[in-house]
Symmetry: C3
C-alpha cells in the first residue's frame, strides 16, 4: 500500500487495521500524550480547491505526531496560474515532501498525481470521484459507537445522487454486511448502478422518501447537505429541505444507541436542538477524522504505531 486513492484500494483487513491504529492514537489526538513519531517528516497539503475542515484535519494529524506541513496555499497565487501542469507541480512536491495530500476539482487527478511521483499520495477528494479518508473516519465513528461494523442498519439521507461521501460509504458498509436504507427526494436518489451493484453482492437495500417513518429500526442515520443549486427553483428546494431535516422531536422513537452523523459543514439538515441529545455524534466524527488520518499517515510513511498510553 503506497497511496490511497479510493477505499477499494484497501481490503477489509487493512481497513480494520487502520481503525485499530487510529483507536490507539486517541490520547495523542486529545493532546493527553505526546508521541512525535513523524518528527522530521514533511506532508504537502495540496488543496487545489478549498476544504478548510479536511486541510486542518490532516494538518493537526501530522503536527500532533511531530511532523511538519507545507501548504500549497491559495491556488490563485500559485505557479499553477503561470500555466504549470499538475505533473510538474507534483514533481516539485516529490522533492519537497515525504507524502502529499491532494484535493482537486478534477475526477482522476489524485490517481494521476500518485502515478507521477515516488512519494505516497492521499486523495482528499477529486471532484465527483473519491474521498477515502472521509469513509475511514465514518467507519471509525460507527465502530467506536457501536463496537462493530457488522450487520448494522444504516440510513443515508439527503443528496444521494451527487454526494461522493455517501457512495463510498455505502460500498464500504456493504462490505461489512450492513443493511442500508437510502432516504432522499426522488430527484436525488442513489445512482441506479450503485444500487444494482450493492444488491447483486447480497446487500439489503431499502429506498424511500420517508425519513421520519424509518427512524426506529436504525442504528445509524447519516445526514448530508442538500444543495440549493440542485433544484430548478427556490420553492422546490425549500419544500425538500424541510422534509429531509432532523429535529429533536423526531428522535423519540429512536433506539437509545442510534447515532446521527454528518460529514459537515451542516447548514439546515439537523436542528441545533439535536446537538444536546445522546444521538448526536457529528462533532465527535470530525474529531475522529484526526486519528483516522494519523493512522493512515503512519502507515503510508512506513512508521509503526506503538502502543500508546495516556500520561
Amino acid at each position: 500500500m503506497s497511496s490511497l486513492i479510493t477505499v477499494d484500494d484497501l481490503t477489509n483487513e487493512e481497513i480494520l487495521s487502520i481503525l485499530d491504529d487510529a483507536e490507539r492514537m486517541l490520547p495523542i489526538a486529545r493532546g493527553e500524550t505526546h508521541l512525535p513519531i513523524l518528527a522530521g517528516k514533511v506532508l504537502a497539503n495540496l488543496f487545489f480547491e478549498p476544504s478548510t475542515r479536511t486541510r486542518m484535519s490532516f494538518e493537526t494529524a501530522m503536527k500532533r505526531l511531530g511532523g511538519a506541513v507545507l501548504n500549497l496555499g491559495d491556488v490563485a497565487n500559485s505557479s499553477v496560474v503561470k500555466g504549470e501542469t499538475l505533473y510538474d507541480t507534483m514533481q516539485m512536491m516529490d522533492g519537497y515532501a515525504d507524502i502529499a495530500v491532494i484535493r482537486h476539482p478534477r475526477q482522476g487527478a489524485a490517481r494521476y498525481s500518485s502515478n507521477a511521483v515516488n512519494i505516497p499520495v492521499i486523495n482528499a477528494g477529486d471532484g465527483a470521484g473519491h474521498h477515502p479518508t472521509q469513509t475511514l473516519l465514518d467507519l471509525f465513528t460507527i465502530r467506536t459507537c457501536h463496537g462493530t461494523l457488522e450487520g448494522l442498519n444504516v440510513a443515508l439521507v439527503g443528496d444521494l445522487r451527487y454526494g461522493r461521501t455517501v457512495h463510498s460509504l455505502s460500498e464500504a458498509l456493504a462490505r461489512f454486511g450492513c443493511s442500508l436504507t437510502f432516504i432522499s427526494p426522488s430527484s436525488l436518489t442513489m445512482p441506479e448502478e450503485i444500487v444494482t451493484d450493492l444488491r447483486s453482492s447480497g446487500t439489503s437495500i431499502t429506498e424511500t422518501e420517508d425519513l421520519h417513518g424509518s427512524i426506529e429500526q436504525l442504528d445509524v442515520i447519516y445526514m448530508t447537505r442538500i444543495q440549493k443549486e440542485r433544484f430548478p427553483d427556490e420553492d422546490e428546494y425549500q419544500k425538500v429541505a424541510g422534509v429531509f431535516k432532523l429535529n429533536q422531536s423526531d428522535l423519540v422513537s429512536a433506539k437509545k444507541n442510534m447515532i446521527i452523523m454528518h460529514p459537515l459543514p451542516r447548514v439546515d439538515e439537523i436542528s441545533p436542538d439535536v446537538d444536546s441529545t445522546v444521538h448526536a455524534k457529528y462533532f465527535e466524527q470530525a474529531f475522529y477524522g484526526v486519528v483516522a488520518r494519523m493512522s493512515l499517515l503512519c502507515r503510508l510513511l512506513g512508521v509503526e504505531v506503538p502502543e500508546v498510553v495516556s500520561e
Copy 2:
C-alpha cells in the same frame, strides 16, 4: 482561568503574574534559548478578519515554545462561506486543537465561542469589543521600561472614541493607580461613560486637545492612528492628523525616561525621526507581544513556566 475574553477577567495579581512569567521568557523569544514546553500542543489561529501582526505574534509565541499552529486561513475560502455557523466551526476546532485564538468582526463573538467549546479561547479582538492581549503587552512594555505600573502619568493620544485598545488600557492603568491624560480631537474624545467610570473609581483624568503642551510631565505617551474614514472630508482629516502627530522636535522638554508607544501599524502619527530617540519603544512593544502571549498560552494550557536561563 480557562479563557481570556477581556482584561476584566483578570485580577491585578493575575496580571502581574502573567507579566512575571513573560519576563522570564525573554531569552526564548529572542531565540537565545530553546525551551519546547508546549511540544505536542496545537493552537488554532482563527482570524475571521485579517490581523497580520497579532496572528504572527501568537504564531511565533507558540512555535518558540515547541507548539504547533493551525491557521483557519482566508475566511473567503473556508467552510464559513458554505453557511456554517460559528458554533459549528468552534466544535470542529474543539476536536483539532488544545487552545484557540479568535479574531472576529462581531462584538461578543469571542465570549460566545468560549462558551461553545471545552478548550480555552483567547480573544484577539472582537469588533468594538476587547483585545486583552494587546493590553497585556502594553502593560508589560510600561512595566519593563519604568520598573512599575504604579502611579505613572500616561497620555493616550489620537482616536479615543473608537479605539478598542485605548479603552481597555485606560481601565487597566487606572487599576494600577496611574493618572491619565486623554488627548484627542473634539470629535474623537474618550466615551463619556468610560471617563465617568474612571473618575468615580478615583482616577485622575485630564482631557485636552493639546498634545504638545502636555509632554513634559508624562511618563508614557500612547499614540494611536486616526482613521481618515472618521472625518466628513479630507481637509478636516488633514488638519487633525497634522496636530496629533509627534516629531523629534516635540520631545525636547520630555523626561529622559518618557516612552512613546503605539499599537502599530502606524501611518503618519509618529515621524520616522522619532525612531532613533531613546523614547521610541513601539517596536520593542511589538516584540514584547510575543512574551506576553507565550506567558498567557502556558497559563491557559496549564503548563508551568520554569526558571529560564539564557544559554
Copy 3:
C-alpha cells in the same frame, strides 16, 4: 556574512563552502535522516508577491532542520494594506523571527530591508534585481551532475533580456571559468553591459539565435520561459516560442552527460518527452534548492552543519 542579497556578496570560496554543506544535507532533504539543528529557530517568509516554489522550498528547508516558519500570508490582507511602510513591517519581523526571507516586486527592497533590521535577510527575488538562492541551487545542480563548476560549456536559452535568473547565473559561471553561449530571439538578447562585463573579465561568450545547431558541444543547457507579454502580437510570440523549445529529437547529438536545467515553472519550452531522458535535470534542480537553502540558513544563523550520515 550576515545577509544574502546578491551572489556578489559571496567569494568563490564561500560559494563552494555553501555547496559543500548542501551536499552533506542531502539525506536530510530526502527524509532519510532527521537532524533538528534549527530547533527553536524561526524563519519569517515575507513574500510580498507570490512565488509558490521558492516559498515552499525555504519552508521545507527550515522544517526539515527542526525550525519553524512564519508566513506573512496574502499581502492583500496584511497590515501593508493599512499603509505600513516596509521599514515598520521589518521592525516587527525583527522581533518575531531569527531570520527573514523576502520576495518583493521592488528592486532594492531586499537590501533596504536588511539594512533596517538586526536579523539576517535573504533576498528571494526583488523585481528586476537579484535572486541569489536560485543561483546557488543552479550551481549546486551543475556541480553535482558534472563534478565541477570549472571550465564547462553552458548555454543559457530564452528570455535573456528580462530574466533575472540568467543574469546572476552568467556572472557566477564566469567566475568559475565557464564558457557561455547565449541563445535568444534578437529582441530578448542578454543586455549589452553584461556581455561587455563578462568579456572584459576574459569569459568566452558566443551569442546566437540557433538553439539546435549549438547542442553537441554543450555541457549544460539552461532553458527559460519566454513570456507572451514580451511580444507585440500572439503570432510573433508563437513563432519564437516554437524555435526556442527543446524536444527529445533535438538531443540525439548531445553529449551523454549534457544536462538540461530550467528554473521552473516551465510552460512550453521543454517538451514532456524530454523528461524521461538522462539529460533532464530540472526536477532534481528543484529538489537541490532545498539543500542549497538549508545550507544557507545554517550559515546565516551561525549553526554549524555536522557530518551527516544517512540512517
